[in-house]
């Protein structure tokens, strides 16, 4: 995989089963984000293949997209929309939602008080929480999270860690790029070091 003139990733193989948590670690610029974007299907690798349930993801992008929640560097929120509207529109594209489902997810990430504020007036940490809420609400088996703990306070980090553990308990899979190893109880995080 190349970024500009620079070869970033080569000779990598990752395998994750249901209930697995893969922790992608490495210094800045080592290609964590690039790897996750390749795995999410946003980037096409020069050589190599990404498969989901034994099928190459390029064969059916829509089916793969439907099985995946991706949290990138940017939170993917519309600044003009309130927290509730953001979830209703962005997650509504993927699955049918009720207002109570949105409110219950917002309470799980401790955002109930700010649910009617436009995303532009939320703090960076609150926007991250809202983006996490989107991941949970999408309810997919595979989570790809790029630095999910950025801007979160310690309560937020704990909350997100618990949510990841719950997702793994339910048989979900998580690929997480982060400087901090997620301390998920009962699940050994496979560590993938990018030199």
């Amino acid at each position: 995989m190349w970024r500009g003139e620079r070869s970033v990733l080569s000779g990598l193989s990752v395998d994750a089963a249901a209930g697995d948590c893969v922790h992608v670690a490495g210094p800045n610029g080592s290609g964590k984000t690039t790897l996750l974007r390749v795995l999410a299907g946003l980037l096409t690798p020069e050589r190599g293949i990404v498969t989901w349930q034994g099928r190459p993801i390029a064969a059916d992008r829509e089916a793969y997209g439907a099985a995946l929640s991706y949290l990138g560097h940017s939170d993917g929120l519309k600044p003009e929309f309130t927290a509730r509207e953001n979830l209703a529109f962005e997650v509504g594209l993927r699955r049918r939602l009720s207002a109570s489902a949105i409110d219950s997810v917002l309470s799980r990430v401790a955002m109930t008080d700010s649910r009617d504020l436009p995303a532009r007036s939320l703090s960076a940490g609150q926007r991250r929480r809202l983006a996490i809420a989107r991941v949970i609400l999408t309810a997919t088996p595979l989570w790809i999270l790029d630095e999910p703990f950025t801007n979160l306070d310690s309560a937020g980090v704990q909350c997100v860690t618990d949510l990841i553990a719950k997702h793994l308990d339910a048989g979900g899979t998580a690929l997480i790029a982060s400087h901090h190893a997620p301390a998920v109880p009962r699940h050994a995080a496979h560590r993938l070091d990018l030199a």
């Binding site: 999410a40 299907g41 946003l42 980037l43 096409t44 829509e62 089916a63 793969y64 997209g65 439907a66 099985a67 995946l68 991706y70 990138g72 560097h73 940017s74 939170d75 993917g76 929120l77 519309k78 600044p79 003009e80 929309f81 509207e85 529109f89 962005e90 509504g92 594209l93 993927r94 699955r95 049918r96 989107r134 309810a139």
Partner: protein, 228 residues
């Protein structure tokens, strides 16, 4: 466990989302129609107040002004979604991207094309277009702005990652809109002179059908490339 949103429901939701967004930025959304009104009212001042003379130029003037006005908002069709990361989420939404592009184009036309069509009879009357030709004015501009929005989506998606994409966007899209300009202005001219404008209007409609059929796929492919 969870019911997936059907493709048509997703299209409707995307369309509504873009309309709501546009209403929250109504000053930006109103730009094309204000531009259109300004340019067409400048013609009588610059050329001649003589209605007979204006009538000769009305078709061309209306079309050029509408084309440039519709081009104004085109740059922002996918740009804001790209900047705030919602485009990435859209690419991974599991919905057919070409259909999502159709929804966005339809919303864009409703915001920037439809108002031009609605004010065009008033502005055309100001340029001396007879009442009998106003229907043709609206029809030809409606089809023309539709073509521009649809074809423009490809250019807008291709120039997404560029910092100053607007110039390139015009260069990409305007040549493709030339056939529409020629037949559209001709339709108005024919109607002004009392002829039936059926021929050029049907040609415009055919172009719109062609654009709506093919452009969304090209735009979807361009979006995937731009998002890399």
């Amino acid at each position: 466990m969870t019911a997936r949103t059907g493709a048509m429901d997703a299209v409707w939701l995307m369309y509504r989302r873009d309309l709501v967004l546009a209403f929250r930025h109504w000053d930006q959304a109103a730009q094309p129609v204000v531009f259109f009104a300004m340019v067409t009212t400048l013609f009588p001042l610059a050329l001649s107040p003589e209605l007979g003379e204006l009538r000769q130029l009305a078709g061309g003037a209306l079309w050029v002004a509408a084309l440039l006005a519709a081009l104004l908002g085109l740059e922002f069709l996918f740009r804001s979604d790209h900047i705030d990361g919602t485009l990435e989420q859209l690419l991974l939404s599991g919905q057919p991207l070409a259909l999502m592009a159709v929804a966005k184009v339809a919303a864009h036309w409703t915001i920037s094309g439809l108002p031009l069509v609605l004010v065009s009879p008033l502005l055309a009357t100001g340029l001396g277009v007879p009442t009998g030709a106003l229907c043709t004015v609206m029809l030809s501009l409606g089809l023309g702005t539709g073509i521009l929005s649809t074809v423009g989506a490809i250019g807008s998606a291709l120039t997404l990652g560029l910092r100053r994409g607007s110039m390139l966007l015009s260069l990409l899209v305007l040549p493709l809109a030339m056939p529409a300009l020629i037949f559209g202005a001709r339709a108005i001219d024919m109607a002004i002179h009392g002829d039936t404008a059926r021929g050029p209007l049907l040609l415009l409609a055919a172009m719109l059908v062609l654009a709506v059929t093919l452009a969304p796929f090209a735009a979807a492919a361009a979006l995937r490339i731009s998002a890399e």
